[in-house]
Amino acid sequence: MPEVFVEKVADFAEGDRRIVFHDGSEIGVFHWQGEFYAYENSCLHQGGPCCEGVIMHKVEDVLAPDKTWLGQRFSADEAHFVCPWHGYEYDIKTGECAGNRNLRLKSYQVVRRGADLYVITG
């Protein structure tokens, strides 16, 4: 099964990411909250390097029980990486586009082999 070496697990810090190449494509690999996630580094909007953008937690409205608006906060659970070209946001754990959950980046399986980390490309 085709695979691409990403990094030594020990050298891939929590919160960090890598971009690897395979057959003309770029794959972004994230280390987030103890898990590894990999997506095609091509924004569904205009093809920007979406996996290379800033990581920001989802912004949420805070409503009272009577539906009045109290303010905003950053989500404690959901984080997004943001395409640096135009701002399309993607859920780091699913690759779903935050603005339209029907849209999703192509994802790849990430596996550990001993001390090494690989992305399955086939």
Binding site: R17, I19, V20, F21, G47, P84, H86
Partner: protein
């Protein structure tokens, strides 16, 4: 600190580079064969505030120049001559090129910095010729001092002509008109109309002067005689009472950039200016396209009932709009069915002009046009370049000017 990037493009903050940021755009350009035809971008920007020290050398009024120079010192605090707007174009840091552009290096002495940075993104995306416009000065039309609008825009125009356009054939511009003063507006056309690289004139739409005022007729007549287009460039204005109803920048941006152009277009047509100046070429910039079929339907429907209020018209309002030119960006692409109908009703193959708006946050690449499934190859090439070449009478040879990376 390192910016994220692949193993070849990785760069530190200090090494921020547009060519690397746009590497995927260069790949698109190669894959789509942009080297085979010219691409003209009719609405792009630079940040003239970063060249303000040079621009102020062209400001004649010694008192205003002293005020401006005092305001541009690092410790000037609240002293400034250029009005600014509340806004969040960089999305709270989500669009990093806003904060990083000051770190980008350009070759010393070879080009004026604006020219070097502009050519860098043009080469990356495959644009051969760009129509260049300012950024903060898009709000100058609501500056409280008309004399400042005139003085600053004249200094800017002189600087742009002498320091940029005179030296770089791939850059042209439609020069700023100080529309709050009709006489100065006329004088600007006379003064700058024949300068190298001046392909038309620009009205920043965010202002409160009606385009049908009699004082402007001599300017329209002059532009018609010269064959130079007049363009209206959208922007927002959160201090406008109407837009003050909106609590998020997304709303102000989405509505503000079409609001003023809707007003100006309504006045332009209902007051019969297309009948008075039938050969004057009129363009609408940075309002996207979705507003155009709305205006066509709305005004055709009302005109059929209230014909007496627009006695100068000999055709439907939409017929006059089909004679106008529209820049594509920010093109609403989420519904291809609606977009296709929009292209049909505006006669896109001859009237639509590709624009990027680069480096602003909602820029469009040429692929937004080239990848549309309902366009022929001929239509794509007309919209991406051919229409602009004919409209502006650009001299473009067979050689591709953009050095696609």
């Amino acid at each position: 600190m390192d910016l994220q990037g692949n193993q070849f493009q990785r760069m530190s903050v200090e090494e921020f580079d547009t060519t690397k940021l746009l590497a995927h755009a260069s790949k698109q350009a190669r894959e789509r064969g942009y080297e085979k035809f010219p691409i003209v971008d009719v609405d792009s920007h630079h940040y003239e505030n970063e060249s303000m020290a040079e621009i102020l050398d062209y400001l004649d009024d010694p008192v205003l120049r002293q005020l401006a120079l005092a305001g541009s010192r690092p410790n000037a605090k609240n002293a400034r001559i250029l009005n600014t707007m509340v806004g969040y174009q960089d999305m709270g840091g989500r669009i990093p090129r806003y904060g990083l552009r000051n770190y980008e290096k350009t070759p010393p002495g070879k080009h004026q910095r604006d020219t070097a940075l502009t050519k860098r993104w043009m080469d990356a995306v495959g644009v051969d010729i760009a129509v260049l416009f300012p950024t903060p000065m898009l709000a100058l039309g609501v500056h409280p001092q008309v004399e400042v609008e005139i003085a600053l825009s004249r200094a800017y125009n002189r600087w742009l002509c002498e320091r940029v356009l005179a030296h770089e054939p791939r850059l042209v511009s439609m020069l700023y008109l100080p529309f709050n003063d009709p006489d100065a507006t006329y004088q600007f056309v006379k003064e700058f109309g024949e300068k190298k690289g001046v392909v038309g004139f620009l009205i920043t739409s965010t202002r409160y002067r009606p385009v049908h005022a009699n004082q402007y007729m001599k300017t329209y007549a002059l532009l018609e005689e010269m064959g130079k287009p007049i363009a209206f460039h959208g922007s927002y204005h959160w201090h406008d009472q109407g837009q003050g109803m909106l609590n998020r920048f997304i709303s102000v941006h989405a509505l503000g950039f079409v609001w003023y152009n809707m007003c100006h277009l309504a006045n332009w047509i209902i007051n019969g200016l297309p009948e008075r100046f039938p050969k004057l070429k009129v363009m609408w910039l940075e309002s996207g396209l979705a507003w155009v079929p709305f205006m066509m339907q709305r005004f055709d429907n009302e005109y059929m009932m209230r014909t007496s209020e627009a006695p100068a018209l000999k055709r439907l309002p939409s017929d006059y709009m089909r004679d106008m030119y529209f820049a594509s960006q920010p093109m609403e692409i989420t519904d291809h069915g609606l977009l296709r109908e929009t292209f049909r009703v505006i006669n896109a193959e001859t009237q639509l002009l590709y624009s990027s708006d680069y480096p602003h946050w909602d820029f469009d690449l040429p692929s937004t046009i080239y990848d549309l499934p309902f366009l022929s190859e001929t239509a794509k090439r007309n919209i991406l370049g051919g229409n602009a070449i004919r409209l502006f009478n650009l001299k473009v040879g067979v050689e591709k000017l953009a050095q696609i990376a």
